[in-house]
């Protein structure tokens, strides 16, 4: 977070506080909740908020990996997360096929799938020096092809009852397991980024790769690691999504690619990387989910919904890390 203060904004301290992305996101969340409650009473009820948080946690899990990849800089971006979510959901669904006893094996298979494709992305980006956007774009094509192959061969798979309960039913202190999982991931990310050498190195290669390399940071290994993390987080999201929807159908993950990137940006991590963190991204994921939920509550056409969604995203982006004005 300390890196955010270095931006040369000579304004009053009140304005400086208001420019904190996390604060902006929290204020916007409050505003949107109030707005939703005004539109349809009961929108901001406890039960409803819990449901929103479950949906947000799925996006938040995908965004955790996306966040690491973007933080590590050099135009880091992962366009393949949606494909990995879909594929891992199908793999997990087929391995467990509705049996509680197969859950551990399914988790293993699913996480291994995510890790494999994330690792391949990382190898392409480092060893072959393919720009992340191109590498993950190409990987997305491969994953979509794999989905077609798997879907046509075997039935698409079914969630085990225990998994479905964990995801959506109260698990501990009345909160569903997914929310606990998300909280755990949030703590893990905070610890990883602030308290470990790994985290310091992510920021280091994100803000100045060359300097980090000169200082002895294993840049390539780091980059492979963040992409592998991204694959693993996407796979965990795929697993939860399987539990949430009961069965895995082909392109369930597609809807996560764009929002996962926008959640990171709304959380205050610029796409250039090097600064920001996951706490903001979590708020960004909640913000996006509430916005989408309001739009489904309101009784308007799909067309109007999309227009308002796109326009609102643009307006919200005005609050966040705009590029610097050119100076002579």
């Amino acid at each position: 977070m300390s890196a955010t203060e270095t931006t040369p904004v000579k304004t009053s301290s009140v304005l400086a506080v208001l420019r904190q992305p996390l604060l902006i996101a929290i204020v916007l969340i409050g505003v949107l909740l109030a707005f939703g409650e005004a539109l349809s009473p009961g929108f901001a009820s406890g039960e409803q908020i819990l449901r929103l948080l479950v949906v947000a946690s799925l996006l938040g899990l995908v965004a955790a990996g996306q966040n690491l990849v973007i933080l590590a800089g050099r135009e880091g971006i992962d366009l393949s997360v949606g494909g990995i979510v879909s594929l891992s959901a199908i793999v997990a669904g087929n391995v467990m096929s509705g049996q509680d006893a197969s859950i551990p094996l399914a988790i293993l298979a699913c996480v291994a799938t995510g890790a494999l494709f994330g690792f391949l992305n990382g190898v392409g980006v480092t060893v072959m020096r393919i720009p992340p956007l191109v590498m993950t774009l190409g990987m997305l094509g491969v994953l979509q092809g794999l989905l077609v192959v798997i879907r046509q061969g075997i039935p698409s798979g079914k969630a085990a009852p225990a998994l479905a309960d964990f995801v959506a039913k109260p698990f501990l202190f009345g909160l569903p397991g997914t929310i606990w999982l998300w909280v755990a991931v949030g703590l893990f990310m905070a610890f990883l980024l602030r308290r470990t050498v790994f985290g310091q190195r992510v920021y280091a290669i994100g803000s100045n790769e060359h300097a980090a390399f000169m200082a002895g940071v294993p840049v390539k290994r780091m980059r492979v690691a963040v992409f592998t993390f991204s694959g693993i987080f996407a796979a965990i999201a795929g697993l939860c999504l399987l539990g949430y929807s009961g069965s895995s159908f082909s392109n369930v993950g597609e809807q996560y690619m764009v929002p996962s990137i926008i959640a990171v940006v709304f959380g205050g991590t610029p796409l250039a990387g090097g600064k920001g963190g996951y706490t903001g991204t979590m708020a960004g994921a909640v913000l996006l989910t509430i916005l989408q939920s309001i739009l489904t509550t309101v009784n308007i056409d799909e067309s109007g919904r999309q227009m308002i969604y796109g326009a609102t995203l643009l307006v919200l982006m005005l609050f966040y890390g705009r590029g610097r004005r050119m100076r002579g």
Partner: protein, 327 residues
């Protein structure tokens, strides 16, 4: 890059490559063309090539438009949505005007106008409001898709007979798409010699230096997005001619293939370097890969996977070869 060039005398290959950065793409293109000929001789007939051209002309135009944006080191993830919007706008317009020759001409003008307007919106949002190009154009693409759904909620309204008969027809024994391709080639030939395109490259090479030497960087970047919007409109005309109907989501899947075509063509996503010819070749490389996968007899459910793998390999090869040739 310059430091490397100064210490080492440029080899012959490097000189050739600097002059023609699309050479790797050209080689891949020729190889694929030959392979297509081996597995399906009919695909190299005039008829087969015309079919390829009429299907992939739209992707080619989308990729060409994207190239100008990428020149300035920006990116346009909304040009597929612009394509969809223009497609449904002209379809609905022509249907309401009765499908006469005059209404078709007017529809083309309206289509160009819509594409230009969308491009300007992108440019203003990214360059003037200084939002990050990737996410800002994702957001505008959602907005444009909403507009397209408003104009035509479900796919299906047919194009007037005159429209698709012209696109699929022949003049003096030569298919219309050949004339269209030649026309586009002429436009692009003239366009890349304009001040705007040179300045886009200058901005992409070093925006700060361009600004300090007095270039209106913001306006130039807006110009790049405007070009992308107009080329997306041209691409929409081709899609409309090819499919003969309106579909509010027709371009959604094309955006990323357009970006892939630009990269295949040897243009650097970091900006300041590339060619339009390369992007056009890149679009046809994607088309030839799709055709080849079909011609070698891949079982239908494996086709997407094999296409995806071959495109990924082609992207890697292209990038690695061009880096080696330039170093």
């Amino acid at each position: 890059m310059t430091a490397v060039a100064a210490t080492r005398p440029p080899g012959r290959l490097k000189r050739v490559f600097e002059r023609y950065p699309f050479l790797p793409a050209f080689c891949i293109f020729i190889v694929l063309l030959a392979l297509n000929g081996v597995f399906s001789p009919a695909s190299l007939s005039a008829r087969g090539l015309t079919g390829l051209l009429s299907t992939y002309l739209a992707l080619m135009l989308l990729a060409i438009g994207q190239t100008f944006v990428v020149y300035a080191s920006d990116i346009d993830f909304s040009n597929g949505a612009i394509l969809s919007l223009v497609n449904v706008v002209i379809i609905v317009f022509m249907e309401q005007m009765g499908g006469s020759g005059l209404s078709v001409t007017a529809a083309l003008a309206v289509g160009i106008g819509v594409g230009l307007a969308c491009g300007l919106v992108n440019g203003i949002v990214v360059a003037a409001l200084r939002l990050q190009a990737v996410v800002a154009t994702f957001a505008t693409s959602i907005f444009f898709t909403g507009l397209a759904l408003y104009v035509l909620p479900v796919a299906g309204t047919p194009a007037p007979r005159l429209f698709w008969r012209t696109y699929g027809g022949r003049f003096f024994e030569v298919p219309f798409v050949v004339f269209a391709a030649l026309g586009i080639a002429l436009i692009v030939y003239l366009l890349v010699r304009t001040r705007l395109v040179t300045r886009l490259l200058a901005v992409g090479d070093d925006a700060q230096a361009a600004y300090q030497s007095g270039l209106p960087v913001t306006l130039i970047r807006i110009g790049g997005y405007a070009l992308s919007g107009v080329f997306a409109a041209l691409a929409a005309f081709c899609v409309t001619g090819d499919t003969a109907s309106g579909d509010p989501l027709v371009g959604a899947k094309m955006t990323l293939f357009g970006v892939a075509a630009v990269v295949l063509g040897g243009t650097a996503l970091s900006g300041g370097f590339g060619t339009v010819v390369g992007s056009a070749l890149g679009a046809f490389i994607i088309g030839l890969i799709n055709a080849l996968v079909y011609f070698v007899g891949t079982p239908s459910q494996w086709q997407n996977l094999v296409q995806g793998l071959v495109i990924l390999i082609a992207l890697m090869l292209g990038i690695m070869v061009s880096r080696r040739a330039r170093a």
